[in-house]
């Protein structure tokens, strides 16, 4: 026998994090077989119907009405379970909180009225509503970091056309990070370098590719003046660099910026060339992962990897990066000796999309086809054939529906790591560990014990790259030490981690020196 209970809270919008918190709080109770906290959107109501939840209270609801529903044993106290869900959903701001006079701002305009010096809006609401908020921020005179995914292409073009006319940035959509005037926005790393150090300005899609070049340059003593995220589609034919072009002109006109570093997945060549031209007299370096030469523009200054792009940019401002492979070849040799002969495959579990992509570029070159949910080529998608190398981007939408992003919580990744333990043909598990604001407080601490488990008793070797700085809240050196103590190899860059993985898979330690500019 089983029962169900439903509670509705009108006009109580809760973001997905709070909904998840409420779901988790209810699911964990004794005797509960199913629990859900959802807004009464059409999708939310479908989910409830699919779970077999029926209740007269569910009719006539709107998208801003919160529904808590639970199913469970007849003898379970479902009302108490709903109460625990209510407590979790309203933890941050109860409906009875505060008096009228101190009401928080409910619009961008009200927020700007309350904080006159505001100049940037971070928008991370669901994608179908994000353009409304972004337009309102532009109207209020703000630059916009548009974190939201799922913003339609035509809405992106509309936003960027308007922003360019207003002299404002729309960074995104899907921009996870930016650095403006030294302040990190979104998932951002904390710079260590002094403001008077040589400066590089970065224009990037604004995911982990931007974070990688930012932290590498910072580590080498090069100041990154700005990281302007333009979103993954800006260098397409349709969007036509509506943000990258004014951003390039702006950085070129900035005396403090010595080099412009442009980072993107393979772009529309003509559009990319336009952006490079817009840098004018300011030297530019471009990383278009996997693109060796820009069609029709053989002289374009390209670097193959994020690492090599950062190296080239550093050299252009007169800084020589330190050695990136010190001790790595020996470490790989020792690890390779330990691997059983049948272990030849690479399994990557990434939290950063661009890091996953860069690793695929490197590994396909050395190992042949690499399969992925975000593959380099359409025919290298999932499901992968037996005996294939597989790199997963766990930050992609299909892995983050209803669960936290892997940078925020490693739960999903830990489960997949344990599964790898069962595969007798995997030689290397390749991981990224992204630090900085917004990321988990101790990701290495979450992952290290599972890494040790995986490697025990002749398991595969874990190679983990830690993206971050010493100034990040998690402190890069501490995170590295935690992983090293667990037995993982921790190379200096994401590219080096990929080369190390290939070196292990092929038992050719010298490969860790590949892909370095002379």
């Amino acid at each position: 026998m089983s029962g169900q209970a439903v509670r509705v809270f009108k006009s109580s919008y809760r973001d997905s994090l709070l909904l998840m918190a409420a779901t988790v709080a209810m699911e964990g109770a004794d005797g509960v077989s199913w629990a859900g906290a959802t807004m009464a959107t059409s999708r939310g109501l479908q989910d409830l119907a699919a779970a077999g939840v029926e209740d007269p209270a569910l009719s006539g609801l709107g998208a801003n009405d919160l529904v808590l529903a639970v199913k469970g044993d007849d003898d379970a106290d479902l009302d108490a379970v709903l109460e625990s869900g209510r407590a979790a959903a309203f933890e941050a701001s109860g409906p009875d909180q505060g008096e009228s006079a101190d009401r928080p701002p409910v619009s961008v305009a009200e927020a700007v009225a309350a904080q006159q010096d505001a100049n940037v809006a971070i928008v991370s609401v669901p994608g179908e509503y994000a353009a409304v908020a972004a337009h309102q921020a532009l109207t209020a005179g703000l630059h916009v970091l548009l974190f939201s995914d799922g913003v339609p292409l035509e809405e992106e073009v509309e936003l960027k056309t308007r922003a360019a006319g207003l002299g404002r940035l729309v960074m995104g959509p899907g921009a996870g990070t930016a650095v403006l005037a030294g302040t990190g926005l979104g998932f951002a790393n904390v710079s260590l370098t002094a403001p008077h150090a040589p400066r590089v300005g970065v224009i990037a899609a604004a995911g982990t590719g931007a974070q990688e070049v930012h932290t590498l340059l910072d580590r080498w003593g090069v100041t990154v003046s700005e990281v302007i995220g333009v979103g993954g589609r800006d260098l397409s034919q349709t969007v036509a660099a509506r943000m990258a072009l004014p951003a390039a002109r702006t950085l070129a006109a900035d005396d403090a910026t010595g080099v412009v570093l442009l980072v993107s997945k393979p772009p529309e060549p003509a559009v990319a060339a336009q952006v490079l031209d817009a840098c004018g007299q300011t030297p530019a370096v471009a990383v278009f992962l996997g693109v060796d030469e820009l069609a029709g523009h053989p002289d374009a200054p390209l670097a193959a990897t994020l690492e090599q792009g950062a190296v080239a940019a550093a050299r252009r401002v007169g800084v020589s990066p330190p050695a990136l492979t010190a001790g790595l070849q020996d470490a790989v040799r020792r690890a390779a000796e330990r691997l059983a002969p049948e272990r030849t495959l690479v399994r990557g579990l990434f939290s950063g999309g661009t890091l996953c992509y860069e690793a695929q570029v490197i590994l396909e070159d050395l190992l042949g086809p690499v399969h992925s949910n975000e593959p380099l080529r359409a025919d290298h998608g999932l499901p992968a054939p037996d005996g294939a190398h597989v790199l997963l981007d766990l930050g992609a939408e299909e892995y983050t529906r209803g669960v936290p992003h892997p940078m925020i919580d490693a739960g999903n990744r830990i489960e997949l790591l344990r599964e790898v333990r069962e595969s007798p043909d995997v030689a290397v598990v390749l991981l990224d560990v992204v630090l900085g604001h917004g990321a988990h407080a101790d990701p290495a601490g979450q992952l290290a014990p599972v890494c040790a488990e995986v490697m025990a008793d002749g398991g595969p070797q874990v190679v983990a790259y830690v993206l971050g700085t010493e100034a990040d809240p998690q402190v890069r050196s501490r995170q590295q030490a935690t992983l090293e103590e667990a037995g993982a190899l921790v190379p200096a860059t994401n590219a080096r981690a990929a080369y190390a993985a290939a070196a292990l898979a092929l038992r050719r330690p010298e490969l860790v020196e590949e892909g370095m500019a002379r």
């Binding site: 961008v108 505001a118 991370s124 179908e128 409304v132 509309e158």
Partner: protein, 468 residues
């Protein structure tokens, strides 16, 4: 492609819309951040969201410019009482026509109090000898109906303007607009509360034959009455100038006093007794002023501002500036109500009257925060402050001349923006009286009526089409 560059900031201040962890990250770096309490816009309806995106996006500069002009007119227009007139002499309404509140209405759909008020007016006009004959004339169409708003007038509650009804004439010189509203009928047995007793008919005759002549005599003898100057003073004295007009009425009578006592009219003491008992006298004068102002503001093209908001007891209707189209929804019930003993929700007629025009000019709900007596009606001054604040979240500006002492001199919310209303699903809440829905016993209570969102949503979608 333009050659423009971006103005990059030197120091960052953030407004965060969405995940709070991004606000925390900025705060941790020692930079200022304000979290917006966001909610899904337009209830999540994809068509509405798309319209909001266009109207807040590519079209916003043109709309905001038009709205600024509307706001300027609402905030600065000087509405002056220029006289008392007989409706037939000034209103463009042919023959036997009755002007009623709200959008156009078929007699068959009229609620009981409105029907009774029409009957009383037909009797007062002398068109019928008894109630049955009046009903027959109304039902047959011999007496026709028209919305007061479409004739440049406004009427409170169930009040009716007939050809002989005396009206205030208020002009806004800057806009060349003029508007009318009937002289207040006062309290007791009165047609504007939906009563048709002999006393209610007699009150209409008193207004026409005694009150109007005396006021018409007095007006030229005193300085011109600047309606919003009086209203602003009265707000500082606790009026919201909608449900409470004690202070504004007193200011008006004091102002008129020299002119009134100059009269040698035989009925002047009778009229004075009526005026001194009519604590809502200023209400319809304020409404006429508001209508003259919104008429001027309503001439601006391409704006998203609401310049008509009216209900006829059956239908709620709004209009936007620059467009004569009514957008309608069923009139809402009056909620959070206090009833006279023995009466309850089952006895109340739906929301009725044109007085919500006051909410469009910074009075009524916009001024509730300054009125302890409105507080008594809605559950405390804190609740009255909420009423004003809620309206403020969907208005584009604040009045510079009507200010609230209780909020440190803050101006009352002004300029209702249909985009904001629909985005936040917050419609104006109007404090109002409740009339009996069947037996003609008049006002049975008072409460708060929340405007229906549907007509605002339809107006938004139509605006999106119109500006396409």
């Amino acid at each position: 492609m333009s050659e423009r560059t971006i103005e990059l900031p030197d120091e960052i201040g953030v407004v965060n819309i969405g995940l709070p962890l991004f606000a925390d990250a900025v705060r941790d770096q020692g930079r200022p951040v304000t979290q917006v309490e966001w909610q899904i816009p337009g209830g999540g309806d994809p068509d509405v969201v798309a319209a909001l995106r266009r109207l807040f996006g590519p079209r916003t500069e043109a709309i905001d410019a038009a709205n600024a002009e509307v706001l300027h007119r609402l905030d600065t227009g000087v509405a002056v009482l220029t006289g008392i007139a007989t409706a037939a002499d000034v209103l463009p309404v042919p023959g036997r026509t009755l002007l009623h509140s709200g959008p156009a209405l078929d007699i068959a759909d009229a609620c009981d109090p409105l029907r009774r008020s029409m009957r009383a007016t037909v009797l007062a006009e002398g068109w019928a000898g008894d109630a049955a004959e009046a009903d027959r004339m109304l039902a047959s169409g011999e007496v026709s109906l028209a919305p007061a708003n479409e004739a440049g007038a406004v009427v409170p509650m169930a009040a009716i303007i007939g050809p002989s009804t005396p009206v205030w004439v208020v002009e806004v010189e800057a806009g060349g607009t003029v508007a009318y509203a009937p002289l207040g009928q006062g309290s007791g047995e009165v047609a504007w509360f939906g009563q048709d007793s002999p006393a209610a008919v007699a009150r209409l005759v008193l207004l026409r034959e005694a009150v109007a002549p005396l006021l018409a005599h007095a007006l030229p003898l005193v300085d011109p009455v600047d309606v919003f100057s009086f209203a602003a003073q009265a707000v500082a004295m606790g009026d919201d100038v909608h449900v409470r007009t004690q202070a504004s009425t007193n200011l008006l009578l004091r102002h008129l006093l020299p002119g009134l006592v100059d009269s040698s009219d035989a009925r002047r003491v009778e009229v004075a007794r009526f005026l001194s008992a009519n604590y809502l006298l200023f209400l319809t004068l304020a409404m006429a002023g508001a209508r003259a102002l919104t008429a001027w503001a309503g001439q601006v093209e391409g704006s998203s501002m609401v310049t008509t908001m009216a209900r006829n007891g059956t239908t709620y209707g709004i209009r936007l500036a620059g467009d004569d189209t009514w957008f309608r929804a069923p009139a809402p019930p009056v909620e959070n109500a206090l009833y006279h003993p023995g009466k309850g929700p089952q006895d109340g007629a739906p929301d009725i009257g044109d007085s919500a025009v006051l909410e469009l000019v910074g009075l009524g709900g916009a001024a509730a925060a300054g009125s302890p007596s409105v507080g008594q009606l809605v559950g405390g001054l804190g609740a009255a402050v909420d009423l004003t604040r809620d309206l403020g979240t969907v208005c584009v500006g604040r009045s510079s001349r009507i200010t609230l002492p209780t909020l440190g001199g803050e101006g009352t919310p002004l300029g209702l923006d249909v985009r904001k209303v629909v985005e936040r699903s917050i419609t104006p809440r109007v404090t109002t009286g409740i009339l009996h829905n069947r037996d003609g016993s008049g006002q049975i209570g008072a409460g708060v009526a929340t405007a229906p969102i549907e007509c605002f949503r339809d107006a938004l979608l139509a605006l999106d089409q119109r500006l396409a």
